[in-house]
């Protein structure tokens, strides 16, 4: 059965970049959210195995999504994909329960490594 994956980013290009960098042999169905608010709405209605999450977004940013997810346990695996790579930000998202932090633009090998590490692949 394919794994449901949600990709949340306000940039169309970034969403496509993440989707394209998913391992070819990974059996997934992907859905998109264009900001944090939309992601939360979708996550509250449907069950997803993995969330790829951008940080700097309108409406509700990635930190906001992580805070809601921490309280409501909407999705188990959150992988932050961000252009904001400052040490303090990486620490903050880890504290809020994100599994991993990937620097934009996404590196396919790095992504595979992380997925394998957590037994997702």
């Amino acid at each position: 059965m394919s794994i449901p994956v949600l990709i949340c980013d306000d940039s169309t290009l970034a969403r496509k970049q993440v989707k394209k960098s998913l391992p070819a042999d990974w059996d997934v169905t992907t859905q998109f959210a264009t900001n944090g608010r939309e992601a939360v709405d979708i996550l509250r209605q449907e069950k997803f195995a993995v969330l790829f999450l951008d940080l700097t977004m309108p409406e509700l940013d990635g930190i906001g999504v992580l805070e809601i997810n921490k309280a409501e346990k909407l999705v188990d695996f959150v992988i932050v994909v961000s252009a904001d790579i400052q040490p303090e930000m990486q620490q903050k998202v880890t504290e809020l329960g994100a599994l991993a932090f990937i620097q934009k633009p996404v590196n396919t090998n790095k992504l595979s490594e992380i997925l394998q590490q957590y037994g997702l692949l």
Binding site: S11, L13, T56, I85, Q86, P87, E88, P105
Partner: protein, 204 residues
């Protein structure tokens, strides 16, 4: 004025490239100063050369500003100017941030230090993503004197009618120090960057 406009896809693509480049610049600055830089969504616009000085005046009317201006040029006709703008109050705070003693180094040197970190990291990040090699001209510091600033802006806008203008803001929260980066990609270089954006868009 030429009929140039960015498509929605091109704008989205450029914004994402800028996001990544400014993320890297902020990270470098954050590590250098051991602080946190607050990122905001960059603003992309087309600007006519004659409105450049007035748009500056509008944004920085009440504050004396200093700026560091650096040209860049690469392959495929990609070129432009990166401006880093400091409000004078903030410029004075830079010495403190960098841990300099008073009179250690001139304000000009301090501005050049911060600017080289931000501008070089930003432009390298941009160049890498568009698979280009950029060369840089020597940075020029333009003082807070109004006349110097105005003549610099006139000089900058001398060769073009229309430029792509990207506004980026760096806010260092701990030190309440802000500076703005303005990227100007003028004239034909706009079409050249549009070709690059289309190439990237075609890959995805």
């Amino acid at each position: 004025m030429n009929e140039i406009a960015l498509s929605e896809e091109q704008r989205d693509c450029l914004q994402e490239l800028i996001n990544v480049a400014m993320g890297r610049a902020s990270d470098k600055l954050a590590r250098y100063l051991d602080t946190f830089v607050h990122l905001q969504v960059p603003h992309i616009d087309l600007i006519a050369s004659e409105s450049l000085p007035s748009s500056f005046a509008e944004s920085y009317a009440d504050d004396g500003v200093s700026l560091v201006s650096q040209g860049f040029y690469g392959e495929d006709g990609i070129l432009g100017e990166a401006l880093l703008i400091y409000r004078s109050n903030d410029a004075q705070g830079i010495a403190e941030i960098l841990g300099y003693e008073p009179d250690d180094v001139s304000e000009v040197e301090q501005l050049t230090d911060i600017s080289s970190i931000l501008t070089t990291t930003f432009l390298n990040g941009l160049a890498e993503q568009i698979e280009n090699q950029l060369a840089y001209s020597a940075p020029r510091v333009v003082s807070a004197l109004e006349t110097a600033l105005e003549s610099h802006l006139h000089q900058l806008s001398f060769n073009w009618d229309l430029a792509l203008k990207v506004d980026i803001s760096y806010q260092v929260t701990d030190y309440s120090f802000n500076c703005d980066m303005i990227l100007l990609i003028p004239g034909e270089a706009i079409q050249n960057i549009q070709k690059v954006l289309d190439r990237i868009l075609n890959e995805f």
